[in-house]
Subunit: 198 residues, 2 copies
């Protein structure tokens, strides 16, 4: 008889349109789940004041980034505003192998790449309850111009189109419930017989 | 943009070797989950004192049972000690369609039948932490003879062989954790994008 008290690790990808409350949800999840770790991305972007190497990002040259990509050292990568961002594979895969829950906070195009190289990964989409609520949240921040809010709302439709690629959708209506749903997904996936450690 | 605040129903099958703590786990689960309902089986067995029609069982004749089976009115059925037991399909499917979580507490041969007619069902196996712990629990009950405990331990290997048929395994080491895992599985499955209500 197999004994499965030792728990399997898990690679969790979290995406969601801006304003869906992804960061706040993940903060709560991290507070409540012991063995969770967030991945640190590699980027060709210059460090901003206060950003620490290995904590906020691994800052690398364009040459080094291209080498990492070519050598399969990245789980996923994407360009954003002229800079490259990618998830180094080694620490994530080592964490999962050691039984940790590794969370990647990335966009849909990255999620597709992760699913391709790690079919066992779990893809979670955090979405706002509806359009009107998202617009209200963006306005409440008081940091975004009308023009920006309009562009964000246009981007929403495009971001929501990726939803069917994901295994799970967590509708963030009440923050505490959304965090609880993400934690439930993590707990459930670790109980999957297909992940059982022999 | 779709809005999925209305939650999908779910058909959950729970099995597990005797002594794994399935009943105690399910009791806790029921206390903590609002919209859960347990299925009432049909049986050809005579009612025992205190058993109520429609609450503990639907008591039917052998002819009626055979008719139900033939008409596809049962999700699953099995013989046990000369009597027939089966799960009437209609109330379960109606409950799930109305957004309820319907739980069937049945054995592996029934679970296989349910999975066949309801591919969307979720199969959960509750298992004891290990052989020694199960033997200790059976002895602690002080209701079982040595002979019966021996036979149960022999049956355990056979029951555990069904584990790979199940989607999830919950190892019942600490009762409260086991209940929490079952609740997490229910919550996670309701967040599946494949179950999203349009």
């Amino acid at each position: 008889m197999r004994n499965t008290i030792r728990r399997p690790g898990l690679l969790v990808v979290i995406s969601g349109p801006s304003g869906a409350g992804k960061s706040s949800t993940l903060r709560l999840v991290m507070e409540r789940c012991g063995d969770i770790c967030f991945s640190v991305s590699a980027t060709t972007r210059r460090p901003r004041p206060g950003e620490e190497e290995g904590r906020h990002y691994y800052f690398v040259s364009c040459e080094r980034f291209e080498e990492m990509r070519r050598n399969g050292e990245l789980l996923e990568c994407a360009e954003y505003a002229g800079d490259f961002y990618g998830t180094p594979a080694a620490p994530v895969l080592a964490g999962v192998a050691a039984g940790q829950v590794c969370v990647l906070d990335i966009e849909a195009r990255g999620a597709i790449q992760v699913r391709r190289c790690c079919p066992d990964s779990v893809l979670v989409f955090i979405s706002p309850p509806d359009r009107a609520e998202l617009e209200r949240r963006l306005r409440d921040r008081r940091t975004e111009s009308e023009e920006k809010i309009k562009r964000r709302m246009e981007a929403l439709e495009e971001q929501m189109a990726a939803l069917p690629l994901y295994d799970y959708q967590v509708v963030n209506d009440v923050l505490d419930d959304a965090a609880r749903s993400v934690l439930s997904i993590i707990e459930a996936e670790r109980c999957r017989t297909s992940r059982a450690l022999v």
